[in-house]
């Protein structure tokens, strides 16, 4: 390399080292069309020469606070105050979009680049929660011994809630719910099950129901059969093409109804799963389920069978249908829990709120590619755009690192409970650490959402 080139690169690297010291900034989410005060916190930065610094403001919509467009590629310069090692600026954040506050020095080098997002009142009233709602343990065909090990691992990969869903087995999730009730943690889990009714291969996620469907099939088979027959009799004769078994439809309707009656959310799982090169539910039946939308939501992202479902989901939207959706890993091994999740905007992480907001289309299905550390978001534009902001500029700062720590501690406790770890000292340390950490993830909303 030529010496001049080397010196230039060294200077660029040095300048980014010298100036890139903004360690935090808040709030990250503000009310649209109102003023907010943003604090940028610096570490070991000489902030005593404000004349050398300029704070530039612009946003992705290209609209100024007065509603007029920005001049092309010309940010606004906004006033700021220096308070100790912080810079504080107040400005109005128009529209529902992403905003940039860029602190530059007199040579126009960027000292800090802070992104924030403004939301209209309906979304500002909600908070984002990430969760995985489809996974298996040894209670069915998974590798890991218990649901609580799976849920603890979900925390480790940055999730706020998780639901264990063993095949026709409610007990896996019961174990997770009862175990987590004894742990000092903000991570929550609910009852769940992947249901397939007798004579019906359709996989249905029963989420949050107060009873197991698998148990109902076993203990009340005659009642199930009679209810499905009754439903079958009510279906129009031409509901499916000739040769297709309408029992699938009647049974699924009965199961979806029962899940709802038990307070749960009924989800049609992985419509395009193709074991042995063919759709697990014949396409005419699957297409009928997708078009009638008798279930509450569609599992649009599922581990390895998402490509066609995503296309079909977008095709249904193009027909004007409103499709509630979720994204899951369908992991059968705790090592595969990071690849997908659902991000829900909700009043709280209570199941009722999460379920209601999935139905209100306030959720997106997210895929995560670990090799490139890239997220892919599927869902309605408004929530997708906000989710992309959170995934790029919010979660990595504090939320996910906190969750990762807590996940490690929770795993220690879950493995000890499952008899896979016999180390009381480690359990005591993990319990103490969790007690001390309790509340810090929910508190992020207090700091990073405008008061």
């Amino acid at each position: 390399m030529k010496p001049r080139k080397f010196v230039t690169i060294a200077l660029i690297v040095l300048s980014t080292q010298l100036f890139a010291k903004c360690v935090d900034a808040w709030p990250k989410v503000v009310r649209a069309d109102s003023s907010a005060t943003i604090t940028m916190q610096f570490e070991e930065e000489d902030l005593k020469q404000p004349d050398k610094l300029k704070l530039l403001y612009y946003n992705d919509d290209g609209i100024r606070a007065d509603g007029k467009p920005f001049q092309y590629a010309t940010p606004e310069i906004i006033p700021f105050e220096i308070k100790g090692n912080t810079i504080v600026a107040t400005t109005k954040f128009p529209s529902e979009t992403r905003h940039t506050l860029k602190l530059v020095n007199n040579e126009n080098n960027t000292v800090a680049d802070v992104k924030l997002y403004s939301l209209k009142p309906d979304y500002f009233a909600l908070r984002p929660f990430k969760g995985n709602m489809h996974m298996h343990s040894k209670y069915s065909d998974g590798v890991d011994k218990t649901g609580s090990i799976m849920v603890a691992t979900c925390r480790k990969v940055g999730q706020d809630f998780a639901i264990e869903t063993d095949h026709n087995n409610y007990a896996g999730s019961q174990e997770a719910v009862s175990t987590f009730a004894t742990f000092p943690t903000d991570m929550v889990t609910y009852h769940g099950e992947e249901v397939h009714g007798p004579g019906n291969g359709t996989h249905i996620l029963s989420l949050g129901a107060t009873e197991g469907m698998g148990e109902w099939f076993k203990q009340h088979r005659a009642e199930y059969d009679a209810t499905v027959k009754e439903a079958l009799a009510k279906l129009p004769a031409d509901i499916l093409p000739k040769g297709m078994n309408a029992w699938f439809v009647a049974s699924s309707h009965v199961i979806w109804d029962r899940i709802r009656a038990k307070g749960g959310l009924a989800v049609y799982a992985h419509p395009y799963w193709r074991p042995n090169y063919r759709q697990y539910i014949p396409k005419p039946i699957s297409d009928y389920f997708l078009s009638e939308l008798y279930c509450d939501a569609i599992e649009v992202v599922n581990g390895g069978s998402s490509e066609n479902t995503i296309l079909h989901y977008q095709g249904l939207r193009a027909q004007g249908k409103k499709i509630p959706l979720i994204g899951t890993t369908d992991a059968h091994n705790s090592r595969h829990l990071a690849g997908a999740f659902t991000l829900i905007l909700s009043e709280s992480v209570k199941f009722e709120d999460l379920a209601a907001n999935i139905k209100k289309l306030n959720s997106v299905a997210v895929e995560y590619v670990a090799r490139t550390k890239k997220h892919y978001v599927h869902g309605p534009k408004r929530v997708s755009q906000f989710a992309l902001f959170l995934l790029e500029h919010y979660y990595d700062l504090k939320h996910d690192p906190f969750c990762q720590e807590e996940g490690e501690w929770l795993l220690t406790l879950a493995k000890a409970k499952a008899g896979e770890l016999n180390d009381q000292d480690a359990v005591d340390k993990a319990t103490k650490a969790l007690q001390e950490a309790k509340g810090r993830v929910p508190a992020l909303f207090d700091k990073y959402w405008q008061k």
Binding site: G67, P75, G243, M244, N276, R278, G315, K374
Partner: protein, 446 residues
């Protein structure tokens, strides 16, 4: 542990699939509801000596049999005969518009088919007549003549060779200057199957959206620069028909529409370039103006794949489709490093690879934008019918052309660099390969 898992995976695969001896099989694409005979070419396959031990299994991805009943977990058994190293099936009826699988197996050590030994798998796509009549082509709708770094810059001829190497059947050379694009194409010294279409990127900073004029009669950029009064009049005319509150946005939308109209007058395709483009996160037009332009749908197609914010462009595309008539989506790499030249592409179904047929295909919506992110599967902007078919073609059909395209690109480079005689001899033999490949892998209509 990582290596143990890897070794275990290899061991399991080795027990499931014998080292593949299936070197070729056809057809790949057939007309739906037709009777089709398939040919498998096997190399050094000892099992061909004992055909009674081989079973050819068939299943349809929709899980629907010819009788209309479901496949369930079973395969159909297909009769075949062996001719030398070829296995030829009896004609079978291929129903529906979907993927089909033919799997050549022999029983496991216990003589069962639960985990059979697999000797080869052939995938087939069946199509209704309207799409079956059309031929698939890969291309770029937006290729610029330079790269982000100094070290990567190429002469136009070399760039065109690089595009061919990336697997393109057609490419729109779209710089900010139509003459540059035309000169690059006119000066390309080889007669090949590669369709090169001149185009230009048109943009009035702060005043209009970025647009591509594909194959215009004359330069739209020059018209804008040289006819301010005519442009002003055209903008006024457009503005009168708009109902937007803000004066600034009205001007931006009207300017964009006036340019689109001019592009169409030049018999060119008007492409709205990736709507979330900007400079350092600063949008090149305010969002209300972009939204108004998107929703007015006056452009012929939307470039969804190839912008710096491809996630948001896909989101915009699907939201647009959810809120009104579907718009054709196209892709092209634009201003990217050489390694990313094939990441954002356009796939069309057209009558031929001529510029006019490709443009007609885009206009009529027989097109998709495809983005191939690293380490995961492709993202396709299209309706389900085309998207499902294109995903199949991108996996099983287009790669069959790659080898020839690379050889052709190498020949271009050798001739350009050293006037290589061998490469000169080779080049003509590589032509008409697209048609020959199509003829082989697309079943003759019955």
């Amino acid at each position: 542990m990582k290596y143990i898992s890897l070794a275990f995976t290899i061991f399991v695969l080795a027990t499931q699939v014998s080292f593949s001896k299936l070197v070729d099989s056809w057809p790949l694409v057939v007309k739906q509801d037709s009777m089709v005979q398939f040919t498998f070419v096997l190399e050094d396959e000892p099992m061909l000596q004992t055909p009674e031990k081989l079973t050819l299994q068939y299943v349809q991805a929709d899980s629907v049999r010819e009788s209309g009943k479901a496949f369930g977990g079973a395969f159909n058994k297909i009769e075949f005969q062996i001719e030398g190293n070829k296995l030829i099936t009896k004609p079978i009826k291929i129903i529906g518009e979907t993927i089909h699988t033919l799997r050549l197996v022999s029983p496991d050590a216990q003589g069962k088919f639960r985990n059979p030994k697999v000797h080869g798998i052939h995938f087939v796509y069946s199509l209704a007549d309207d799409l079956f009549q059309l031929r698939p082509y890969r291309g770029s709708i937006h290729t610029v003549l330079n790269f982000p770094t100094e070290a990567e810059q190429l002469q136009p001829h070399k760039l065109i060779a690089q595009l061919r190497h990336s697997g393109y059947d057609f490419a729109c050379i779209a710089d900010n200057d139509l003459d540059k694009a035309k000169n690059a194409i006119a000066g390309f010294p080889f007669k090949t199957d590669f369709t090169l279409i001149p185009a230009e990127e048109v943009f009035i900073p702060g005043k209009s959206a970025k647009l591509l004029a594909i194959n215009p009669n004359t330069s739209v950029g020059k018209w804008i620069a040289g006819n301010p009064n005519e442009l002003l009049k055209a903008i006024e005319n457009e503005a009168n028909s708009l109902k937007i509150d803000s004066k600034e946005f009205t001007e931006q939308v009207a300017t964009t529409h006036a340019i689109i109209k001019k592009i169409k007058q030049e018999n060119a395709l008007a492409i709205l370039v990736h709507p979330n483009h900007g400079q350092d996160d600063f949008p090149y037009l305010p969002r209300p103006a972009i939204d108004a332009i998107l929703n007015a749908r006056q452009y012929d197609a939307l470039q969804v794949a190839g912008g710096p914010k491809v996630d948001l462009d896909f989101t915009d595309y699907f939201e647009l489709c959810a809120s009104g008539p579907r718009v054709p989506a196209v892709g092209g790499p634009g201003f990217v490093p050489q390694a990313d030249l094939a990441r954002s592409i356009t796939v069309v179904l057209a009558k031929s690879n001529s510029a006019s047929d490709i443009m007609s295909a885009i206009k009529s919506g027989h097109v998709a934008a495809v983005f191939q992110p690293p380490a995961t599967y492709r993202r396709i902007a299209a309706d389900f019918r085309l998207g499902h078919y294109f995903a199949f073609l991108l996996r099983y059909y287009f790669p069959k052309l790659n080898g020839t395209y690379r050889s052709e690109a190498d020949a271009f480079n050798k001739i350009l660099d050293a006037n290589d005689e061998q490469a000169k001899q080779l080049l003509p033999t590589l032509q008409n390969h697209v048609n020959a490949t199509y003829d082989k892998y697309f079943a003759v209509t019955q």
